[in-house]
Point group: none
Chain length 192, copies 4
């Protein structure tokens, strides 16, 4: 039953998000689903296996933001361009809040165990960002003085900082439209 697998994934997302990888135990996940321990292992080979599924799911969701984004120049200035993209990411992060918590948290923490998975994911992200960077350069949106590295660091750094603090650590509601507006404004001023 594919539903059962999905149930386990959903429970995993909740528990991993609440307690972190190492403080999450299979017992907690199966209790949440309401199944026996053995059942978990019908669908996943190990705790690690489930976790890798979550990484891959996040990767897929995240990259779709780029894929769904049309790189066109009609009536768009850089500010609007960045704003739309940031809004896309914020929506995804908000919709998949728990999954996002897990990835942002463990990507940097459990690298001993999932280093390869996270590295692959980071590389894919950077490749997409590079496409964006090239597009912006070619269409004169940003100056050639801007190095890709720092463009990426600024973009990801501010975005993740906002996500972490506004979405994940904070209890209050996160107004993503406002955030996308403000950050795109700063980024626009910083790099155009």
């Amino acid at each position: 039953m594919a539903d059962r697998k999905e149930e386990i994934i959903q429970a995993g997302i909740e528990v991993f998000a609440a307690r972190g990888y190492y403080n999450t135990h299979i017992a907690q996940i199966v209790e949440k689903v309401g199944i026996a321990k053995g059942t978990f292992y019908l669908y996943f080979n190990s705790k690690k296996d489930l976790f890798i599924s979550l990484i891959k799911r996040h990767e897929k969701i995240f990259l779709e933001v780029f894929d769904n984004y049309t790189f066109d120049t009609n009536n768009k200035n850089l500010k609007i361009f960045l704003e739309e993209m940031l809004l896309g990411f914020f929506k995804i992060y908000k919709k998949h809040k728990n999954l996002s918590i897990i990835i942002l948290r463990e990507a940097v923490a459990v690298n001993e165990e999932f280093g390869d998975e996270f590295k692959r994911m980071e590389e894919k992200r950077f490749r997409r960002l590079q496409d964006l960077y090239k597009f912006l350069i070619e269409n004169n949106y940003i100056s050639k003085d801007i190095e890709f590295d720092y463009f990426a660091f600024a973009f990801l750094g501010i975005m993740e900082s906002v996500i972490m603090r506004k979405l994940i650590l904070s209890e209050e509601d996160f107004n993503i439209e406002e955030a996308a507006d403000k950050i795109s404004d700063y980024l626009n001023k910083a790099i155009s």
Copy 2:
């Protein structure tokens, strides 16, 4: 013997940095120091106790950057102001590379166990940043339109993003002067 305690802290920094909190075992730390397991518990109540010591040490070091920084306006524009401050942080992070790795990594990962410590630390950081923000506003370095939250997110986000990727994840040497120059330039444009 205070030296013995310091030896344990140093070994802890190395091992925690290399393997992460949950993959670090007391056995590895005491082996590095060359003492018996029991001896560890003469100086620290638990593994957690040692780790909290490291958080506090980092906090102290980090906040000193603010303390050592003179908030004056002589001949300084915002760009230079930010550049000097960033350079200060980069120097500290580079000097205490392993300790920085630990904090940046686990601050977000192990909150189940150290949530309170990290929250306290974050609050102190924000209070200092707030002082800086007020100073910049009062002296017309930045516009009143800039909200504190986004100022902080941008400043910390870019800085930590660069630290993580240039200092921690990358093998190459990290040219901190160049980084401080570039990032302060972007920030200056973004918020002035």
Copy 3:
């Protein structure tokens, strides 16, 4: 369906022979047959039940060698007598190689669980050997000095040693005629 039960037995023989009793899992057997796990339990009460079936099957096959053997004295000396009998056993072991592997291997290994079955089997074997022994004594093929115990040990010991090493552990083809010739020669010299 008797065929279905036989299919399971055949798959069991293959897998038990290849992996041993404890390393064989029901999952492997049913996969080989191409049936579901539940189906296995329609034909056998347990893994142990299947295994006991195999022991009984081997016992039946083995004892038939004695039954098919005519104890007559026409033109036969002891050497020829023993040679024919050994050849009979070798043929059976070769024909039922996997079953033989299982029995020789586990007879001695899993006695905790199958002790009773194997003991019963050994007793039957010894009763047939005793008939043979009496026949040989009564017809002056062997001296009365030869005790039954040692006759049996020598006969079974050499035979099983050859089976184990030539048939089971070795990859090369096993020339059973040559083996029967040589061993019967030694046995003849040893006990006549």
Copy 4:
């Protein structure tokens, strides 16, 4: 403490001999020694690790029989020669009855897991037997018609058959002098 390790080995020998490898659990061994489970793992990495220790111990003991045996021809005929050697083995097997049970039983049963260890051991045994065989040929104790393979099969086969049935499976006391006398007599007649 080397004594503690030896205690575990002794308990392991008893339990493995009584129950077989797969039916022996660490819990039973540590209970016999009177220690906690964790203590077991201070001395052995795993159940398998302990078992391999036992294989090596047996190998050492067994090969010493050959080493302690002087290959000289003074006043010895083949019968006496073989009798002395068999007696040597029987003494060792009797002295180390439980260890012998384990090895004879599992050598053939658990090859999936300990195949390499047992193969190495069998090779060493055969090398020593080959030395003996050459010595017997060179000193005209046995005819050149006797092939090594069958010499080895007969020697080991009868010996192990006796060991298994008289020493291990039987409850009665095993008169090793009588057994050595009889078997050496048969072997002498068979191969001289």
